[in-house]
Point group: C2
Chain length 192, copies 2
């Protein structure tokens, strides 16, 4: 998506270790006009799929997911990160390893909000190694629901998450795929 | 707001200790149609205020805040909860005590995203004792920005947070104010 790539080039910052900071428009300060256009694009890409739920993970996926859910007119559910195994109520739960924080945490979704007849679109801001997305897919499976696809804003194409999902036949749509970043800030996108 | 009160009555669950669970439409599963109407209402209530930023706190405030920011056509910023004092970059930070979790955590906002000429509308899903809101107000002050008001979805009117903010002359708009809850589930709203 041209507009997203232009924003990344204009406002993204590259840090050593292949860190891409886009916290001025995507995950700390968030531009609702841009997010609305991402949501329009996910609607265009998945509108034939009879989506009944949009699923994401707190915190930075929530903004994109709620605006996408608004386009589809279906509920959004966000998986909660929990520090403890001692979770109240009946939930689907799976451990996710975070490379950003170097720690494993459990994420959980109440069993009330994912059912076998749900057709789930997973939405998140970033895809790199893909542990968070895989955790969400695991939760969709636990619920016996159908995964219709995964919509990502920015995929780090030089890491394995996207390739792994595509090799499993999952309908993955990343609106910008960064194929390389250099420490002096040069970003190259995959041709769409 | 009639529609919000009706949803609380129809789908909210009261638990002992004056706990109101609305996680089927407000803070775990989220209804984007309802949230859009809350956003419309905040726009109606604050549109004369020349809002330049909508500020909230992760995680459950994000959905309401981004849709509100979309109505105003201004950026949304969410304060991040941090486990460590060792925060990267230049941030405004303040400790907030959480009664829900019985612990104090730091919240932080990058100095890049709140400036002295900003006119800030704080949005959150719940107001009870008001510690989270007070922390956000503190951050607005640190930035030298102007607080134009606070928009809350559900205020627990029998707790002190709302009265305290109003007594300080802050323009607080709560779209539903619960004046009492009984353990057998009876909820009474304040007349608007």
């Amino acid at each position: 998506m041209k507009e997203l790539e232009e924003r990344i080039l204009a406002e993204g910052k590259v840090f050593p270790g292949e860190v891409l900071k886009v916290d001025c428009f995507l995950n700390h300060q968030i531009d609702p006009i841009l997010i609305g256009r991402l949501a329009d694009e996910y609607y265009r890409l998945f509108r034939e799929e009879n989506v009944t739920k949009v699923l994401t993970i707190e915190a930075s996926g929530i903004a994109i997911a709620i605006m996408t859910a608004a386009r589809f007119g279906v509920p959004m559910v966000f998986a909660k990160k929990s520090k403890t195994k001692n979770i109240a109520g009946d939930v689907y739960s799976t451990p996710i390893f975070s490379y950003t924080h170097g720690t494993t945490y459990d994420v959980m979704v109440s069993k009330d909000f994912l059912k076998p007849d749900d057709r789930v679109l997973i939405i998140d801001d970033f895809l790199a190694v893909g542990k968070a997305t895989q955790g969400l897919i695991e939760i969709v499976k636990m619920a016996g629901a159908t995964l219709v696809g995964v919509g990502i804003a920015i995929e780090k194409g030089f890491q394995c998450g996207g390739a792994e999902l595509r090799s499993r036949g999952i309908h993955l749509e990343s609106l910008a795929i960064v194929d390389s970043m250099t420490d002096d800030g040069k970003i190259t996108f995959r041709e769409s």
